[in-house]
């Protein structure tokens, strides 16, 4: 099939729990510095934004369809455009897996409401 799609849904409460219990260890393992900066609000880190980015990472993994390859979360980065939309940048194992499967033209959309965040990712076999 020429197009692949992935979707994920994340409870914002689970992200709050991770921040509360594991703090910087959680944030540093899962998110890049740029992602953490994009998730800052007027009163600190906004867990809804983090949850949306985690959903985007998991949705991307579903597109990549690893058999059992390790994909560190930071290998999938959500980049926020100044105008508000987001894009994906893959590195390391994620980029390798995408290249091996000729997957490109990744596109992502995220949203959050009512205590949940979601993301959809599509990619095309080039």
């Amino acid at each position: 099939m020429a197009v692949r799609v992935g979707i994920d849904l994340v409870s914002v409460d689970t992200v709050r729990e991770s921040i509360r219990e594991h703090g910087d260890r959680y944030l540093g393992r899962v998110y890049t510095e740029a992602e953490l900066h994009d998730c800052l609000g007027t009163e600190g880190t906004v867990p809804e934004r983090l949850a949306a980015r985690f959903a985007a990472k998991e949705a991307t993994i579903k597109v990549l369809r690893p058999t059992d390859e390790p994909i560190p979360w930071r290998n999938i980065e959500v980049i926020r455009h100044p105008s508000g939309w987001v894009e994906l940048e893959l590195s390391g194992c994620a980029a390798t897996l995408a290249a091996e499967q000729s997957l490109g033209d990744f596109a992502v959309s995220v949203s959050h409401e009512g205590g949940f965040a979601t993301a959809v990712v599509i990619a095309r076999r080039t």
Binding site: V10, H22, P70
Partner: protein, 83 residues
């Protein structure tokens, strides 16, 4: 170690089922552990056993079951010289 891991899964895995009923090879993802809950389980395992999962171990098969987690934790503790 098995019961320690079971307790960590109970406390952090957010499973919708009674974790007392989990056997060693129960597929935790099939049992309802979400992707983000597995992050919390991983971090809790690291805290409890004083280990760190390297990137090479961040794969589904490692966190698939109590048995696979125990094998991974044992391997990391052995490398760290912890009996």
């Amino acid at each position: 170690m098995t019961e320690e891991i079971r307790q960590i899964i109970k406390d952090h895995g957010r499973l919708p089922i009674d974790t007392d009923g989990l056997v060693a090879n129960t597929d935790l993802h099939q049992a309802g552990m979400t992707s983000h809950a597995s992050v919390n389980v991983m971090l809790a395992l690291e805290d409890h056993f004083d280990i760190e999962f390297p990137d090479s171990m961040l794969k589904p098969s490692v966190f698939e079951s109590i048995a696979s987690i125990e094998a991974a934790v044992s391997e990391l503790r052995a490398k760290a010289g912890v009996v």
